[in-house]
Amino acid sequence: MEFGIFSIGDVTTDPTDGTTVTEHQRIKNTVEIAKKAEEVGLDVFATGQHHNPPFVAPANPPVLLSNIAAQTEKLQLSTATTLITTTDPVRIAEDYSYAQHLSDGRISLIMGRGNTGPVYPWFGKDIRSGIPLAVENYNLLYRLWREKNIDWEGKFRTPLNGFTVTPTPLDDVPPFVWHGSIRSPEIAEQAAYYGDGFFHNNIFWPTSHTARMVKLYRQRYEYYGHGTASQAIVGLGGQVFMRKNSQDAVNEFRPYFDNAPVYGHGPSLEDFSTQTPLTVGSPQQVIERTLSFRDWAGDYQRQLFLIDHAGLPQKTVLEQLDLLGEEVIPVLRKEFAASRPADVPDAPTHESLVIRHREGRDPIPGGGPGSRAYADRQARAAEQNDTQGADRR
């Protein structure tokens, strides 16, 4: 199982002293946070993609991820998320492929649609087509990473004639893709169809809802024959703030929570902590809460924490990383591993995907022979033949 952090790169005024870091400082801080993540023993650093203030998460995440890759050895580098709706799939294929080579296979992607209406038209798109864009663009990206001399025509971008992505993915194995969605069952279905991972940010909604999305993905993953429901590749977000003494954590974090972008000036810290996975308290409380995710999500593969937002000072964020690395993650690793059934896969890595590819076990989109989806397709085809036969008679 992978543990890591994800950042949205918000530039937020620290509500306790009114200071705001510059964009330049925030960007440098982000790199420092990622390096620190590796140093304290975390597995993953993930960045959002943003095109509007107050965020300085990169518009093209491979720029930041490649820079971090050059300064780290083992850290897995991910997005959270790549905007599959407004970014040209051809550029996603090219840029992430390049970053995958630079990082020796340490790149993975979480696809997201983005929820800011005004961003879409800046790129000639319309938020009302969010789902169709995600569907068509990813389908093209999937092919671009696996086929050469592609002829393609769709609704949302100019046609391609004999197009081949350069560079082709490292070892002919594309970066692993997760599909992220808070609310849309279509995206859980999409992840299941391709045998890709499903990631839920697990921050703003009650766990009962997140559980519903994860369950749907698992059921459909099995339906498409990529493995049993319990073998589906699930990732979850979460957010934590820790101090040795839990009351200190609450007191220190409260002003940041109350003024945070998105949920500030809304629910109380207490309500939000009860009803969403937010945990503000001691490392032990974070351990217990995180282990409880397994009760409703099943054994899963990737856990990312949000720790660097809402104007928290850089020093505080680095202290959070120390606590995660020293006290939380080692226990979580041990506990999750202890109860994980042997047939539940680990988080995919480039190495494991290369082996899977060489052994001919890559997932077949829509389900290959032996899957229920395949059997259903055969049955439908037979039915149609019958009807046509009857018509002819």
Partner: protein
């Protein structure tokens, strides 16, 4: 038949609560009059005030709010009663209907009730709530009920109010029965008891197995989702 009252009772013993209870009682006897069983329940929007504000500001849907929305989805008919302030339903009440999922009321008969100090407020429900509930695809019955202070104080006012309640609840109940394929039977008919005519579906009232509209839970049910191959075809 499940009838749910979604009402905003700002004080503990408000006239809005009194009116909602009177309407539910009248609806209950109207349902029993056509030989069906009835379950009534009450959502007091007052208890959701913080949750509604949180959702408006941050999009965060608390569990209590989700539960209330789910109750609306499950109901066969809705009664919604609000106090009127400055010739409009109080903002807290409209906020509930403004934040609920689109089409939640599809195919559901809805009865509007409102309360106010003087008859000058009597058309507020008509003017504001009727279009809003129609937007949510609710079928709002023609008669709305307004109760002013006079209606609670004088004998004649009380009689008029009761007559209006009877009229509106009969509209609500016969419409629900018609929608769910149960023939309304005139009160007192001997054939009424125990033998409602079902023309579609099976079993429980309002829960036909076929042709049921998907609820929020169904959206995440593998049986109801759009298969990806279909999404891919566009």
């Amino acid at each position: 038949m499940r009838i749910l009252s979604v009402s905003t009772s700002l004080s503990e013993d408000s006239t809005t609560l009194k009116l909602a209870n009177k309407i539910l009682a009248a609806a209950t006897s109207a349902v029993e009059g056509i030989g069906l069983t009835v379950e009534t329940d009450h959502v007091n929007v007052r208890n959701l005030s913080s949750a509604l504000t949180d959702m408006a500001l941050t999009g965060f849907r608390s569990e209590e709010l989700e539960a209330a929305f789910a109750q609306v989805t499950k109901a066969d008919a809705i009664v919604t009663v609000t106090p009127v302030y400055k010739v409009a339903p109080v903002g807290l009440h409209t906020l509930f209907w403004q934040l609920i999922d689109e089409k939640t009321l599809a195919g559901k008969p809805v009865l509007i009730g409102s309360t106010g100090g003087t008859p000058r407020h009597s058309l507020a429900g008509e003017a504001v709530l009727r279009p809003m509930l129609s937007y949510l695809k609710g079928i709002v019955v023609p008669t709305t009920i307004f109760a002013a202070t006079d209606d609670w104080g004088s004998i004649e006012g009380g009689r008029n109010l009761n007559a209006r309640i009877r009229q509106a609840t009969e509209e609500l109940v016969s419409l629900s029965a018609a929608i769910h394929g149960v023939a309304p039977v005139s009160p007192g008919s001997t054939e009424a008891a125990g033998s409602p005519v079902q023309t579609q579906g099976s079993g429980e009232f309002g829960r036909p197995e076929q042709g049921r509209r998907p609820s929020i839970d169904d959206e995440f049910n593998p049986e109801f989702i759009t298969p990806f191959a279909q999404l891919l075809e566009g």
